[in-house]
């Protein structure tokens, strides 16, 4: 009896100590992330210019986002960018991993350093670099002219049709090496016996990829997809430096509009609603992508 009492007291003490360790982080987290987020949600139901009193408008801001062609286009652009950042990146990375297969790559440490570099680099720097690379007389166009494709040369980031895909391809460039390294690391964790037995069964390269490699790197594929989808939706820096949403509104995306509507137009309710929608989109997409993995 005394033992259980002592044990209970001990347990209560340990719980208090644990909470004390967690408390400072939790306080930071609540004050600087959770409360501001909830206040964003509140703001999204108001009309506010930052100076005069807020007015409760219910769902009006969300309605105006859904009804406005410009805002709808921004979300559409975000999905196009997901196509480049996440889908195209993953397709290329999987193709390359399929070619590499289970073979050991030499000098992977050095190559990995290079492959990660675009992912590490400050996005503002990446943007400045690609604005030059894609400039009318820049290296990309010079290369096209040199191989006789001069007809394709254009001011990529100022072109109504090509600005958005260009930004998307910059995203692919940022994430491809990152995706490749993670997937290769995943392949290297697959037991080599699985590959050997696949070969003994007479599996070709495609069968081997589908039956051994792909199931073996499912986790890596999931994680890279979540991170690159998130990167596509949170690309304020790149848009800010390369196109500012232009030409016209060809590259406007939600993360840029939040900033523009809030701090230039003073349309804070709509900007907050846009931020909330962006968060919901990130959460929903992440959960949808992660779900099959959680089950497995």
């Amino acid at each position: 009896m005394t033992l259980t009492l002592a044990a209970r007291r001990q347990r209560r003490r340990s719980a208090a100590v644990g909470l004390a360790y967690l408390a400072p982080a939790l306080l930071f987290y609540c004050l600087l992330l959770l409360v501001p987020f909830l206040r964003s949600v509140y703001l999204s139901f108001t009309s506010w210019d930052g100076i005069s009193p807020k007015q409760w408008v219910g769902l009006d801001n969300y309605r105006s986002i859904v009804e406005s062609e410009q805002y709808r286009a921004a979300f559409l652009h975000a999905f196009v960018l997901i196509g480049f950042y996440a889908v195209l990146t993953m397709a290329v990375a999987l193709l390359l991993v399929g070619i590499i297969g289970s073979s050991r790559v030499r000098g992977l440490v050095v190559l990995r350093t290079a492959l990660f570099l675009p992912y590490v680099l400050t996005p503002v720097v990446t943007g400045v670099a690609w604005r030059w690379l894609l400039a009318p007389d820049g290296p990309v166009n010079a290369l096209l002219r040199a191989v006789g494709l001069g007809g394709l040369a254009r001011a990529w980031l100022a072109d109504f049709t090509w600005a958005l895909p260009s930004v998307g391809l910059i995203g692919t460039w940022m994430l491809l090496g990152f995706a490749l390294v993670l997937l290769i690391a995943g392949v290297q964790r697959i037991p080599t016996e699985l590959y050997e037995s696949a070969r003994i069964d007479g599996a070709g390269a495609v069968r081997e990829f589908l039956a051994v490699t792909l199931p073996g790197i499912r986790n890596e594929v999931t994680v890279v997809t979540v991170l690159s989808v998130t990167a596509a939706l949170r690309n304020f820096d790149l848009i800010y430096v390369t196109t500012q949403g232009g030409p016209g509104s060809a590259t406007e995306v939600p993360s840029f509009l939040v900033y523009q509507q809030a701090f230039f137009v003073g349309n804070l309710g709509v900007a907050a609603a846009m931020g909330v929608l962006l968060t919901v989109l990130i959460l929903v997409l992440s959960i949808v992508i992660l779900r099959p993995w959680r089950k497995g």
Partner: protein, 274 residues
């Protein structure tokens, strides 16, 4: 055997090409940074001199010295704070039982997905009231909070996997949980701590939105902000822009290169364990 060998060679070529695609555009930027400035022309020519002076010019024109110092202050302080807060938080989440532990962990984990865009508006207006707008401390606090979610999660997975007998041994010797943490566990956690340091440093250095809004008064400027403004002034002077871009990226690239093993470990296992 022959097929396997062919695949090894192809694999090597494929990875090398992918690495080249990552690096060659950046080498172009380095070359451009040494070209003749102010030509309004973005082609690289092998001019007979390397204009090393570009770096000194942009250092002066964009006031990069001050901006880099500001970025250093913000990144180093928020990295230290993130580590100081994440270590005990991860320890608590992995090694202690208390009510709502899993709920609190899930709430923290959600923080990984909250975009800055959904926080920045109320943060700005609240900080303005508390005198934290146009104040580096404000940026440091936000960057720390943004790093915390990953940090707690990352340290939790280390403490969870730490061998239980070491902790028990400490307990038997009568050491309290803090002594166990500092004397026994943290010395084992050096690789994880380094990974956390390099990741939070890189993230806070690279961020544009938070300092852009929080420091909009213009008294303090971080390096990425300074580069963005510089681009606004020298729109097509690609030699100057490239030089300024390199100086802005250099600290992050150096930290990354020095700690690249830790970085890779943090990114790969940190991501996969999620």
């Amino acid at each position: 055997m022959k097929a396997a060998r062919a695949q090894t060679i192809t694999g090597q070529v494929v990875v090398t090409c992918a690495a080249a695609i990552a690096v060659v555009p950046l080498l172009g930027v380095v070359m451009m940074a040494l070209a003749e400035p102010g030509t309004q022309d973005s082609t690289i020519r092998w001019s007979d001199t390397f204009h090393v002076g570009n770096f000194a010019d942009v250092w002066r024109l964009a006031d990069l010295g001050t901006a880099l110092a500001t970025s250093f202050t913000v990144s180093v302080t928020s990295t230290v704070l993130t580590v100081l807060l994440s270590v005990p938080a991860g320890y608590a989440l992995a090694r202690f039982r208390f009510p709502l532990r899993n709920v609190l962990f899930l709430v923290l984990l959600t923080g990984l997905m909250l975009p800055n865009e959904s926080l920045i508006i109320p943060l700005y207006f609240d900080f303005r009231e508390f005198g934290l707008a146009d104040n580096l401390l404000g940026v440091v606090l936000v960057e720390t909070a943004l790093g915390l979610a990953f940090g707690s999660f990352w340290m939790r997975s280390f403490f969870r996997d730490a061998p239980a007998d070491i902790i028990d041994a400490g307990r038997v010797d009568g050491a309290n949980s803090f002594v166990v943490l500092v004397r026994l566990l943290l010395p084992m956690a050096v690789p994880q701590l380094l990974a956390l340091v390099v990741l939070t440093f890189v993230w806070s250095w690279n961020d544009l939105l938070v300092p852009l809004v929080m420091l909009s008064g213009g008294r303090d400027v971080t390096a990425p902000m300074s580069l963005a403004t510089f681009q606004g002034q020298y729109t097509t002077d690609y030699a100057y822009l490239s030089a300024a871009a390199i100086l802005t990226a250099l600290p992050v690239v150096v930290v990354y290169l020095v700690l690249q093993r830790s970085f890779a470990r943090g990114i790969t296992s940190g991501a996969i364990k999620g």
